[in-house]
């Protein structure tokens, strides 16, 4: 009777002791499970006979990586916690990756089988090919860079062409001799003689004639206030300027009374080339020293 009453208590005390003495049974459960490649697993409280174990040095070809998390005495045996993960599919004995720390033989130990399996199809050693997606749009930045680049190239080209054209035009102008005073005067005289000279060009005609006579008499360096006084002292220039003043400035000319005939006034200045002017000036122009004798 007493033994029946104490049976649950005896079972309660006996079960932990039983589990403590058969750790290999627990590991057998873990060994049955297929472990995926690269996924770590642990085997704890594994009691093995003999002296302390350590992990064999691994090389690049090793299919299983093993690590001893803890190692403690267990009576005359040793108790270990192992961590491991497989690199190649297959069934391995964990003990094959261990060795005695003191270099002695492993002896007869119960195998600790581990099965590593791969989820990839057989023979596939590379990852699945990545599906090629659409190239991400660089957006406005890339487009802007292109536009700026093209614009820069075109702008530089346009600037270069424009500058080239300007330089060529300037060179052409440099190569072309500027019109002489005679050439400049000729159209004004022609139109003036016909009475077709507009107001602005009448003013220019008068000033160009003054400039011509100024050069002809060699008095370019005189102050402007003295120039006309000196010109009026000259026989020919004085008459010309007097007539010009009557034609262009006097009130009689404006209302038609006593008007000067431009054709007659400008006749000596028609159909003269630059060479004629120069020759005539050389022949008739007095030097500055003799100018005072003209008046």
């Amino acid at each position: 009777m007493t033994s029946w009453l104490l049976l649950p208590l005896q079972l309660a005390l006996a079960l932990p002791a039983a589990s403590h003495h058969v750790p290999a049974t627990q590991e057998a459960t873990a060994q049955d499970e297929a472990i995926p490649v690269g996924v770590p697993r642990w085997s704890r409280e594994v009691v093995l006979k003999g002296t302390a174990l350590k992990v064999r040095p691994a090389d690049i070809e090793t299919p299983l990586i093993v690590r001893i998390d803890s190692d403690s005495p267990h009576g005359t045996d040793r108790r270990y916690d192992f961590e491991y993960y497989g690199l190649e599919p297959g069934t391995y004995n964990l003990l094959d990756f261990l060795q005695r720390a003191d270099g002695s033989e492993m002896g007869a130990l119960p195998p600790l089988q581990i099965r590593i399996e791969s989820h990839l199809p057989s023979g596939q050693v590379k990852p699945n090919p990545v599906t090629q997606g659409a190239t991400p749009d660089l957006g406005g930045y890339g487009r802007t860079l292109w536009i700026l680049g093209i614009g820069w190239v075109l702008g530089t080209l346009a600037w270069w062409l424009s500058r080239r054209r300007t330089v060529q035009a300037a060179r052409a102008l440099e190569d072309t001799p500027p019109p002489t005073l005679a050439e400049r005067l000729a159209p004004l005289v022609e139109r003036g003689a016909r009475g077709e000279l507009p107001l602005e060009e009448q003013a220019r005609l008068e000033l160009i004639l003054i400039a011509i006579w100024r050069k002809r008499l060699g008095i370019q360096d005189l102050p402007a206030a003295e120039v006309l006084t000196r010109l009026k002292q000259h026989e020919e220039a004085g008459i010309l300027l007097g007539e010009l003043e009557r034609w262009l400035h006097s009130p009689g000319s404006a209302d038609g009374r006593g008007a000067v005939d431009p054709a007659q006034l400008l006749a000596p200045y028609r159909n003269l080339t630059s060479e004629d002017w120069d020759r005539e000036w050389e022949a008739t122009a007095p030097g500055p020293a003799t100018l005072g004798q003209d008046g």
């Binding site: 400049r184 402007a224 206030a225 009130p251």
Partner: protein, 358 residues
């Protein structure tokens, strides 16, 4: 474009005789200075004012005094100094203690001919007060406006050499002067006459004593004309014909002062107006009833030069406004900046006018 219409009924011969008489009267006491007399008459007949720039001792005061007496004009002289106040020129209100009321004491500006000697020695507010009176021809004393006598001519002077302690007239105030004439020393011949005349002045007995006579003592007090003659001359100036061609010359010259690369401040429209006014008066002085380019060329320096200001680059190059103005006058009519004394630039190279001619 319509020409400037002449004023009717102008008596040129009467004005010409009057002008001749005035010049002869002034020549009796002032040797040479014909151009200055001409400029003074131009200013008087056109209602402008004149600034004479020159060293002391070249008969500026004597000239103004002789001019006023020859025309029977009131004459005042103010020596500008640093401590001068606007009221010293314009006048002020004074408390009359006998009546306990304020009465207005008019200043020396109330005259026909005012000689403002060394105007640049006074403070700017005094210069400003005078220049305002010059332009508006009236002053306000104690809140009451007073009109200045007519004609009213200011002859201001400044010494170009001694600049210490002076206040330079700014361009805006210089622009109020129609003419700025630069006085020169007399020629050796003129100087000999001056010395001989001065040596013959002698001593003048006065109030029981005697003083050494000066040129002021020999000015003939009897006038050769009066206000009516001046008015006739002013009307004659207005009747002088100005052609469109002459206007073109003026427009071109003033325009060139604004576009010239060496000039920072060019001629104002007032410069062009003054050129026309002064040219008309000069034409009258020379017995013409129309202006000609000679008037423009002769007056350009006095009318335009003081209205120009060179830029720093030109000053650094040692250029002067006179040089630049002469250069512009020499190039007038070219339509460009090329030198007309030799070859001119090819059409189209400098400005549209050259292109139009080609």
């Amino acid at each position: 474009m319509s020409q400037i219409p002449p004023a009717p009924n102008a008596d040129f011969s009467q004005s010409a005789q009057f002008i001749q008489d005035v010049r002869e009267r002034i020549a009796k006491v002032v040797v040479g200075q014909d151009v200055v007399v001409e400029r003074l008459l131009i200013s008087l007949f056109t209602g402008g004012h004149i600034l004479l720039q020159g060293v002391p001792g070249i008969a500026k005061t004597l000239l103004a005094s002789a001019l006023s007496k020859a025309m029977r004009l009131d004459f005042s002289r103010i020596q500008f100094t640093i401590d001068l106040l606007p009221a010293d020129i314009l006048g002020s209100e004074i408390l009359d203690q006998s009546t306990s009321t304020f009465r207005t004491e008019k200043g020396p500006v109330f005259t026909n001919l005012l000689l403002a000697d060394e105007i640049n020695r006074a403070a700017p507010k005094v210069q400003g007060a005078l220049l305002e009176a010059m332009q508006e021809r009236k002053v306000t004393i104690g809140g009451e406006p007073f009109t200045l006598p007519a004609p009213f001519l200011v002859i201001a002077t400044q010494n170009p050499v001694e600049q210490s302690g002076t206040f330079e007239l700014p361009e805006a105030q210089l622009d109020r002067f129609m003419l700025l004439h630069r006085l020169d020393y007399p020629t050796p011949d003129e100087e000999r006459v001056i010395l001989r005349r001065n040596a013959a002045l002698g001593v003048q007995r006065r109030d029981g004593g005697a003083v050494v006579a000066t040129e002021f003592d020999v000015i003939d007090d009897s006038p050769v004309g009066g206000i009516e003659d001046i008015i006739a001359a002013m009307e004659a100036v207005q009747s002088v014909h100005v052609s469109d061609t002459f206007l073109e010359h003026v427009v071109e010259l003033v325009g060139r002062t604004r576009k010239h690369p060496d000039i920072e401040l060019g001629g104002s429209p007032r410069a062009g107006i003054s050129l026309i006014k002064a040219s008309r008066a000069r034409a009258l002085l020379f017995g013409r009833n129309y202006v000609i380019p000679e008037d423009l060329f002769a007056l350009a320096e006095d009318v335009v030069l003081h209205r120009l200001r060179l830029n720093y680059e030109a000053l650094a190059d040692g250029k002067t406004t006179a040089n630049v103005l002469q250069e512009m006058l020499a190039h007038m009519g070219s339509g460009d900046e090329a030198n007309l004394n030799g070859q001119v630039a090819a059409p189209g190279t400098n400005g549209s006018r050259a292109t139009a001619e080609a």
